[in-house]
């Protein structure tokens, strides 16, 4: 009989079970000689089934299984001192790429104490590991690509911003300069959303830091004397999607520019507060100032592009615009259409 050790013959059924195992299996004696191997083992490691019985594990193939640590672990398992669980082995075979194996070995517990036998299961995880690595690489590549795109967007916005400000400094007409600077603020407002989006991963923007950054940038470029005029941001912890945040930011940009230009003539001191709060689907954005208020009658300002932009964006957000005379000053509230006023605008003390 080929399937036997010199002093012991295994039951045919045992050998048949081993042979038919789907997971590569080796059935070993206490001397670490092969009693039987599964067909899957022979297929996976390209060995002839008839050559295996009686061969020591260290002599299998071209000796690639002669790994001292594996041998000592198998001996420890045979003596009952250890069990091999998920032991990782890199099998290097000449002319083949290195295979990643995960080994499990147990002493067979069939009540036959005189004949120690081991069952060694070998999983080839080479493919799974390389797929996992490829997936990691793809995720990393995607992150790099996204960073690259954000970098390009920022650079393109810088070109537009540079050209607009360059023109603003060169142009003679005070009115044209104002328009160019406003255009520049709109670009900077969009850039601030981009920067927040680059930092978030879900295409959502935390409104508070975004509006703080936006107002800092507006203040830095429009307020000559920070002791005279200031902008405060009082925004709750709302999270809004990218498109909505872009519209809200542009509305804030227009309203803040408008307040800075018109609410504080001469050397009047003043403060602007940008507020936002939401409750479920309802929200309210407000820009309040403690300036001179909006003149009416013949002195009423003609609506400009800024007003047009605010109206259009509010419409896109399905929001209503409400102008409140807060005496002193003015509050412009933009609120979700379904809301029945979720609160009063932040009013700014004189």
């Amino acid at each position: 009989m080929p399937h036997s050790t010199p002093d012991h013959v295994e039951a045919a059924s045992t050998l048949a079970v081993i042979a038919s195992s789907n997971e590569p299996l080796l059935f070993l004696d206490s001397d670490l000689r092969v009693i039987a191997a599964s067909r899957s083992f022979c297929r996976t490691f390209q060995m002839q089934p008839e050559t295996l019985p009686g061969t020591r594990i260290s002599d299998l193939g071209n000796g690639e299984w002669a790994v001292p640590q594996l041998t000592s672990l198998l001996r420890a398992t045979a003596s009952g001192a250890a069990e091999i669980e998920a032991y990782e082995l890199e099998l290097t075979c000449e002319g083949h790429e290195t295979r990643h194996l995960v080994l499990n070995a147990h002493k067979l517990d069939d009540g036959d104490a005189d004949h120690i036998r081991l069952l060694l299961a070998i999983s080839d995880v080479t493919l799974a590991r390389s797929e996992a690595r490829q997936k990691d690489d793809l995720v990393r590549q995607k992150a790099i690509l996204l960073q690259e795109v954000q970098h390009r967007v920022a650079n393109s916005l810088q070109i537009i911003a540079s050209v607009l400000m360059h023109s603003a400094r060169k142009v003679q007409s005070e009115e044209a300069r104002g328009h160019l600077q406003s255009a520049h603020h709109r670009v900077m407002s969009i850039a601030a959303v981009q920067r927040q989006l680059a930092a978030s991963e879900l295409g959502q923007v935390v409104l508070a830091p975004y509006l703080v950054q936006l107002c800092d940038s507006l203040g830095a470029s429009m307020i000559r004397d920070p002791r005279r005029l200031s902008i405060a941001v009082e925004v709750d912890d709302s999270l809004v999607d990218a498109k909505e945040s872009l519209s809200l930011g542009l509305i804030v940009t227009e309203l803040v520019i408008n307040a800075l230009k018109h609410a504080f003539p001469g050397h009047r001191k003043g403060r602007i507060v940008v507020g936002y709060r939401s409750e479920g689907p309802d929200w309210m954005l407000s820009v309040s100032d403690n300036g001179i208020g909006i003149p009416d009658g013949v002195d009423a300002p003609k609506p400009g592009l800024g007003t047009g932009i605010v109206d259009a964006l509010a419409g896109q957000l399905n929001a209503k615009i409400r102008i409140v005379d807060t005496q002193p000053g003015t509050a412009i509230c933009v609120e979700s259409g379904c809301s029945s006023e979720i609160g009063r605008p932040v009013s700014v003390p004189a």
């Binding site: 920022a154 810088q158 911003a161 540079s162 360059h166 940038s217 470029s221």
Partner: protein, 122 residues
């Protein structure tokens, strides 16, 4: 000719941004010198000793990017002040030489002017 407050070397590969930055520096009362990459910047620094500040982009073609350039300048010309701007939103301050200031692009021009003025003020 008015007395210029200092000489600023603008290093930027994108011509429109460089034109804008040169004009910004000059409008703020400083003299501007321009370079399109790090190699040109180093040639200029070797040729003239009056450059007090380098305002550089990060992502540029050539042997060095703006980060390497700023570290090189800190090593070779320690008194030269450094301002670095980049479209890369996340830039670790530890990548910059000590004393250098970073601004994300697009930068607020007034903030750059204030930074330049602050660095030239002893």
């Amino acid at each position: 000719m008015t007395e210029r407050a200092g000489v600023v070397l603008v290093v930027e590969d994108e011509v429109l941004i460089r034109m804008g930055a040169v004009d910004l520096v000059e409008s703020a009362g400083f003299e501007a010198v321009e370079a399109k990459d790090a190699d040109e910047a180093i040639r200029i620094l070797e040729a003239r000793s009056d450059i007090g500040l380098v305002f550089t982009d990060v992502d540029m073609p050539g042997t060095m990017d703006g980060l390497k350039l700023s570290r090189y300048i800190r090593e070779r010309w320690p008194p030269v002040r450094l301002i670095v701007a980049s479209g890369m939103a996340i830039l670790d301050q530890s990548q910059l030489p000590e004393g250098a200031r970073f601004f994300p692009k697009p930068y607020v021009e007034q903030s750059i002017v204030e930074a330049i003025r602050g660095m030239f003020t002893p």
